[in-house]
């Protein structure tokens, strides 16, 4: 399980450490430029069209703002809940050395991620209700895994000689965790959160099916009513949000990475 986990996050972790020193890389400025160009192009293109009444109902600032807000709210709240569940769970798992326990927990988290989000959300809606909370549950279930896995891997990759030195100097287990292990695991944990956030932005589009709003509304409406400008606007804005969040999380990763590493 652990070996698999290490392999799965290796890309995220690799990215984290390769960023060292590259504060002025293309990535840092390239992403915002791409986002700005995409949004500007979209705006100019939409402005050049003569929109019919159906399109005008969605392609206006108020509507766009509401959907974007709903979308971001879902994403951020879901990610916060994921962090609140998965980081402590990952820490707890790192204290348990039973392989069986690890397998069970990761099994559950894997089921959460491998079940198609749309199926889970609709199933939940049938047995429970429609709306924000249900969408939230679906999103959380979907994005727990990367954070859980990265927390565990982040803690496990802390050199055991460091924790032994810390214990040998008389740190209590909690002090070893907060002063040594967590600071050193932060880059990997944040990389996991970054993955979860980007997952959430994408998966939040299915919230539309259970009446929880979000930019999925535009995409689905655009499809159903065959209004391509609406569909494309929804899709481009979602993509730009995902890119922006990924970019911000990348900045956070660099800022939170302990100095000296």
């Amino acid at each position: 399980m652990t070996a698999q986990a290490t392999r799965d996050v290796s890309t995220a972790f690799g990215t984290a450490s390769n960023r060292r020193g590259k504060y002025f890389s293309f990535k840092r400025f390239g992403t915002p430029i791409v986002i700005a160009v995409a949004l500007l192009t979209l705006f100019l293109w939409i402005s050049s069209l003569s929109l019919d009444s159906i399109e005008l109902r969605t392609l206006n600032w108020a509507y766009l703002q509401d959907r974007t807000f709903e979308h971001l709210r879902l994403t951020v709240v879901a990610s916060a809940i994921v962090a609140a569940i998965a980081i402590p769970a990952g820490i707890a798992l790192s204290r348990v050395h039973s392989k069986a326990v690890h397998a069970v927990v990761f099994g559950i988290a894997n089921v959460g991620q491998s079940t198609p989000a749309i199926g889970l959300v609709i199933l939940l809606a049938i047995v429970w209700k429609l709306g924000f909370e249900v969408a939230l549950v679906g999103l959380v279930a979907y994005s727990v895994l990367p954070v859980l896995r990265n927390t565990l891997v982040g803690l496990e990759q802390v050199d055991s000689s460091l924790t032994e030195a810390a214990r040998g100097m008389g740190m209590r287990p909690f002090q070893v965790l907060t002063r040594i292990e967590l600071p050193l695991a932060i880059p990997v944990i944040v990389a996991g959160l970054r993955t979860a956030l980007v997952f959430c932005v994408g998966v939040a589009t299915v919230a539309t099916f259970i009446n929880a709003g979000g930019l999925g509304d535009m995409i689905v409406n655009g499809l159903k009513l065959q209004r391509w400008p609406v569909l494309i606007t929804g899709a481009v804005v979602v993509s730009c949000i995902a890119l922006t969040i990924d970019w911000l999380a990348g900045l956070a990763e660099d800022l939170l990475k302990p100095k000296g590493i």
């Binding site: 030195a165 600071p183 590493i261």
Partner: protein
């Protein structure tokens, strides 16, 4: 706890700042009685019925092959590993009755991997234990700067660097400084110089010996390098499987009379040469003055091993011995060196064998006091 409080109190009175290293906490007596460690699921114990009494200020070397339990034995003293049975006392206090974290803050701990925390500066690394003990900022900072100077690193240049920016040797100095931070009476060192290159290692060993002369901590030092043990130790415990003590004596005595085949095997070839390395030239009876020939001379404070080295270069003719001022005070030759090793000169010269001469008295005196 009591100890750390009292030492902290004396530190607060300011005498510490003016005359720091001259009044360190002296070493403590360590006693291990029938200490056994059995890991669950393993047939035999890793350490079986280990008993040892270590005098205050002694530097004890545990030598043995990998997996013999020497590290396990050492780690039971600060309870990184909990003994299964037996008792361990430090200054008469049963350590198993203490809070392990408070115990460890009173015991300096240096490991081979050094284990400097990469996300903390050198100063922060050294300040870990003082912080745990709740020292105030000024006192901690003074102590950090002082310790950096003690281990030969300029505080101004190094305090705010990160471990990654230091060489291996420098990191291990910081490791030693960190272990000394709260002036613990006991130090445990687990192959601290094992990962450094030979030149750095020798330098670190020399500095470490000088430091220990000033500090006289009680030190348990684990190594698998017998030469290091001979060089540093006041007494050496040669350990075999399950941490059984095969011989526990001064380096000179072990070299002169290994207790059994196991120890002889560990001592290896060239035991006589290793013994010569322990004896200073002034321990030998010097011959009449001879002029210095071809710049070949030996200082009276050098080891007999160096004297022998010069003799080889001189072609066997007696070599002049000079004192600190460079004045010739006598001469030395092969016979006199052999005589210093022990009485059995004929055996030595004929067979070249080190058949355990009973010159232990002289040799013990020749070893470290």
């Amino acid at each position: 706890m009591e100890r750390s409080c009292s030492s902290a109190a004396s530190l607060l009175q300011g005498d510490f700042v003016s005359e720091p290293i001259s009044r360190p906490a002296a070493g403590a007596r360590i006693n291990l009685t029938n200490v056994t460690k059995t890991y669950p699921g393993q047939a035999g114990p890793a350490v079986e019925s280990f008993s040892m009494d270590i005098a205050p200020g002694e530097l004890i070397m545990f030598v043995g092959p990998s997996g013999c339990g020497k590290t396990t034995t050492m780690k039971m003293i600060n309870r990184i590993i909990e003994p299964t049975s037996g008792s361990i006392t430090i200054d008469g206090e049963d350590i198993l009755s203490l809070n392990p974290n408070e115990l460890r803050r009173r015991i300096g701990y240096v490991i081979q991997q050094i284990g400097l925390f990469p996300h903390m500066t050198i100063a922060e690394n050294i300040a870990v234990v003082p912080r745990l003990l709740g020292w105030d900022k000024n006192k901690t900072q003074t102590r950090v700067e002082e310790l950096l100077s003690v281990v030969g690193l300029d505080p101004k240049a190094y305090a705010s660097r990160y471990p990654r920016q230091l060489s291996g040797g420098q990191q291990q100095r910081v490791g030693v400084a960190r272990a000394l931070a709260a002036d613990p009476p006991v130090m445990l060192m687990d192959e601290p110089f094992g990962a450094t290159d030979p030149i750095t290692r020798e330098k670190l060993q020399t500095e470490f010996l000088r430091l220990q002369e000033k500090l006289s901590k009680t030190i348990v030092f684990v190594t698998h390098d017998f030469d290091e043990a001979v060089r540093l130790g006041d007494r050496i415990a040669v350990l075999s499987e399950r941490s059984q003590i095969e011989q526990f004596d001064t380096p000179a005595n072990i070299l002169a009379s290994p207790a059994n085949d196991y120890v002889s095997q560990f001592v290896g070839h060239g035991a006589a040469l290793k013994r010569l390395g322990l004896i200073p030239v002034h321990q030998a009876t010097l011959g009449p003055n001879v002029p210095v020939r071809g710049a070949i001379e030996v200082s009276i404070n050098d080891s007999l091993r160096n004297a022998l080295d010069s003799l080889v270069l001189s072609g066997g003719t007696p070599v002049a011995v000079v004192n600190g001022q460079g004045r010739v005070v006598g001469s030395i030759d092969i016979e006199r060196i052999s005589a210093a090793l022990g009485a059995e000169i004929p055996a030595l010269t004929r067979g070249g064998q080190t058949e355990a001469p009973l010159g232990g008295g002289v040799l013990a005196a020749g070893g470290r006091p």
